[in-house]
Amino acid sequence: MADKTLLSPVERELVEQIETLLADPTHTHNPLRAPLAALFASSEAQRERLERLVRISDGYHLISRSQSLTLSEQYDRQLRRLDKLARISDRYQNSLRELSEALKDAALRDPLTGLGNRRFLMERIIEETERANRKGEPYALAILDVDHFKSINDRFGHEAGDTALNQITQAIQNGLRTYDLCGRWGGEEFLVILPETSLDSALQVAERIRRDIQALTIGIHNRSDVRITVSLGITLYQAGEPYSQTLDRADNALLQAKAAGRNRIESA
């Protein structure tokens, strides 16, 4: 028998009325009873089938609905994971980039004086050489070497030597014009590049630096008489020549300044 709960009150009343009539023995011989009983049975069977169909169909609907909910939850979850992955990955990438910048800086900078190192200077000389040839304006190159530096280290220790190098660095930078460049070429050797500068102007700058350094009082505790001097070799870039020749010339000028008694400037 099909479920009656899904019927409307009118339908249910009708079904119950027919059931009552069919069950009543006084109608046993009514000629309409047999066809009514058959019709009623067939109608009930149809109703039952219809209900089953609806139940099954609802079931499928429920399954597909819950599947789509699961899928959308999974999708949201994956999105959140992807977000998180990107965030973490970006952080790693940022720290790598900072590290590589720090390494680049370390590779080009002298840690004691904070000046550019020899590698940095080489890059700049190459650039300046190209520029000088392009514009036809030579640059001046000066190599500065501290006189008797070894004896400072020997007499007062390496810390005093480091202090002297830092004070010399300061003096050179004070003496330079804004567009001049200075770096630490070697132990107690500094290199100065003066772009688009005549030899006369370069000599003036060099002389100012030489005098300033000579006037320095090196800050060594308990001493106020420690003086220091420097020798410089200066040259002008000659159009078309490889920069190594310019460097050699400046080096030779420096040697001459040393040979002539130090604390002086020679040009070549």
């Binding site: 998180k84 992955l85 965030r87 973490i88 952080r91 790693y92 940022n94 720290s95």
Partner: protein, 125 residues
């Protein structure tokens, strides 16, 4: 096979394990060419431990750099631990970072975000 020991390489961290102690340790940088292969073994060990043993599991991590696929693998591992934890298992992670690299602290914190099991972040020392 209950022992998992992988020596560190240029691009992969060292992995040591102790089934008896329920401890898996990873140490170093992680940017393997094939993260799935490398972490596959690690994940297999963890899944097997969680299946065959009922004792607690602890991960000790000393990881510095990780590429993106390693980060993903690590997130998968934490998901496995999270599921086990929700299922009533005792699991924990101890993440050690180099105090000279404080950024890793933030990274570990980001990893920890969705984990409800004990997840400690401490300076290596």
């Amino acid at each position: 096979m209950t022992a998992l020991h992988i020596p560190a390489s240029q691009s992969t961290p060292s992995v040591t394990s102790s089934w008896e102690q329920g401890l898996l340790t990873m140490r170093g940088d992680s940017y393997p060419e094939n993260s799935f292969e490398f972490f596959g073994d690690v994940i297999a060990w963890i899944e097997r431990y969680l299946k065959e043993s009922s004792a607690p599991l602890r991960l000790e991590l000393h990881l510095v750099y990780m590429n993106t696929s390693s980060v993903k693998a690590m997130m998968d591992i934490f998901d496995i631990l999270e599921d086990a934890h929700r299922g009533g298992r005792q699991v924990s992670v101890d993440w050690f970072y180099d105090p000279r690299n404080e950024r890793v602290l933030d990274l570990a914190d980001e990893f920890r975000e969705d984990c409800s099991f004990p997840f400690q972040i401490a300076a290596d020392g």
